[in-house]
């Protein structure tokens, strides 16, 4: 079943040069106190073309965050190969709250620019643009403690977009949000992505979200995580997050992915 799906034609993807190539990535954690080894990711291979939007779905604890952290060089791999064909390091939106409490919203968003030494005027313009994009303009001078959880997450997204890097890694950025806000932000993200054509690796445990956003969905097995399926999502761009739910293919694919998640390794 998986094999058949992988054979669906993907003409654009094939010619685009890959931005990310991961081959037989393996990662384990060792707890020396308990002398226990946790195999988190095992022989995971995938590649992402330049300008492609890829979602990774998989059960909790299957190693999604671990893979992303390895891509961002925040964690070392045990074996396998990870190649990033870009000039700058990937920008990351973390799964947990990652806004810095001592900075205002605007300062948080400006952080990557400030550290790079971008001229003040340019920083200001860029930050305003990012805040408008994420609907935070009226909270520019607020402290993170004065924001809701969803707003803090939007600050993280704005910060990751601020210095316009080629690869964007997003770890369940909308996981903690309500359905409505999530839909709005998904639409926003699609709009941003269609405008900028960044390479995006987006982790989610929501099949629905993956199909809404991605060009391709990678399905992972339970821990130790490995690739179970690589599905092409056929919907044309630009997408309308609400309208696409009228498409029968959306529900067929949803069924497909759920089947894979329910019986991993069954293929």
């Amino acid at each position: 079943m998986t094999a058949a799906l992988q054979k669906t034609p993907k003409p654009k993807v094939v010619c685009a040069p890959p931005a990310i190539e991961v081959t037989t990535l393996t990662k384990a954690f060792y707890n020396s106190d308990a002398d226990r080894v946790t195999l988190a990711v095992s022989d995971f291979s995938f590649s992402v073309a330049r300008g492609e939007f890829v979602c990774i779905v998989g059960p909790s604890g299957c190693g999604k965050t671990t893979v992303l952290r390895i891509l961002a060089d925040l964690e070392s791999k045990l074996s396998g190969e990870v190649k990033l064909h870009t000039d700058d390091a990937p920008a990351m939106v973390f799964q947990e709250a990652s806004v810095l409490p001592w900075l205002t919203v605007a300062q948080n968003v400006a952080l990557p620019l400030k550290l790079k030494g971008t001229p003040q005027a340019q920083q200001k313009a860029r930050v305003e643009e990012m805040l408008a994009l994420t609907g935070l303009t009226s909270f520019a001078n607020a402290r993170p403690s004065q924001l809701s959880g969803g707003m803090r997450q939007r600050v993280s997204v704005a910060r990751a977009l601020a210095d316009d890097r080629d690869i964007l890694l997003m770890d369940e950025p909308f996981g903690a949000l309500d359905e409505q806000t999530r839909l709005v932000l998904q639409q926003e993200l699609l709009r941003i992505w269609e405008a900028t054509r960044k390479t995006v690796v987006f982790i989610t445990h929501s099949v629905d979200e993956a199909l809404t956003l991605a060009d391709r969905v990678l399905v992972m097995s339970p821990r130790p995580g490995t690739l179970v399926a690589d599905l092409k999502v056929p919907f044309e761009r630009p997408r309308d997050v609400v309208e696409m739910r009228r498409d029968k293919r959306f529900w067929d694919l949803t069924y497909e992915v759920w089947n894979l998640l329910a019986s991993p390794g069954g293929a």
Binding site: D73, L74, F94, S98, L100, W102, G135, S138, S145, R159
Partner: protein, 271 residues
């Protein structure tokens, strides 16, 4: 984003702002709570509930103080003590914070240098006064050094704790936004440790005055500590109390100053 909504009523506004108002009131009132103790003392002394030879009434002490203020006698002593505390404090706090941040950020440095500080920390500061006097002489340098040592350890350990307690995610963010080592130090570790640094600064201010008082008893010709000692030697109890009150008040004001600075520099930490 804002849908039109009714304006808040005056009563709602009042309730909304009342915690902030109460906070301001408390802040002001807390300035006066030590005065209550003085009032109790005054009454007990006036009513002869306590021995006036040892505990002259605050009003009598105030009289002595006033005459000394008029004669400008006390200010030289205050100036000398303040200078020693100020310089010694800076000499201890700055390296303490810097080393605390460095050891907090780098596990290797922490493993190499940590045990040295751990071994030196328990040495009582007053116990090494003779040694310090021997090395640095009886001049002001020995006072600076003594205070600096005491302040250093408090700042070092509080800062180190602050960095180590900071959530790992802050360091991950630093790395991901491309911070250099120095930028991580300056823009992540320092602010993350700032609440702890201020705890250290307050503790260190208290110890500084303890150390300077003891140091001035034994090896100085000026300063509030010297003044207390000299008054004791001539059994001028009122003058001695003036000295005690003055040095306590100096410590109290220093801590108030640090707290004001803290509110200004660490606005994100809930007091």
């Amino acid at each position: 984003m804002n849908t039109s909504s009714r304006p808040l009523t005056n009563e709602e506004m009042h309730r909304l702002k009342s915690p902030a108002r109460r906070e301001r009131l408390f802040r002001r009132a807390s300035l006066f709570s030590p005065l209550l103790l003085l009032l109790l003392w005054e009454i007990s002394s006036q009513l002869n509930l306590i021995d006036r030879r040892f505990f002259p009434a605050p009003s009598a002490i105030a009289q002595t103080a006033w005459s000394m203020i008029v004669s400008l006698e006390l200010f030289d002593h205050i100036g000398a003590t303040l200078r020693r505390v100020g310089i010694g404090y800076a000499m201890g706090a700055i390296p303490g914070v810097i080393l605390g941040l460095m050891l907090g950020l780098s596990q290797t440095t922490r493993r190499l240098l940590g045990p040295i500080f751990a071994a030196l920390y328990p040495v009582p500061k007053i116990a090494i006064l003779p040694l310090i006097l021997l090395i640095f002489g009886v001049g002001d340098m020995s006072k600076y050094v003594l205070i600096a040592i005491g302040v250093f350890f408090l700042m070092f350990y509080n800062t180190l704790g602050g960095v180590m307690q900071a959530p790992q995610i802050y360091m991950d963010v630093a790395k991901n936004v491309g911070a250099t080592r120095f930028q991580t130090f300056r823009h992540i570790a320092l602010p993350a440790a700032l609440p702890n640094i201020f705890t250290g600064l307050k503790l260190a201010a208290g110890s500084s005055y303890i150390i300077i008082a003891a140091a001035e008893f034994l090896g100085a010709r000026s300063g509030v500590g010297f003044f207390i000692w000299a008054s004791w030697q001539t059994f001028a109890v009122s003058r001695m109390f003036v000295g005690i009150v003055v040095i306590s008040f100096m410590g109290y004001l220093t801590i108030l100053l640090i707290e004001a600075l803290e509110r200004h520099l660490v606005p994100w930490a809930k007091q």
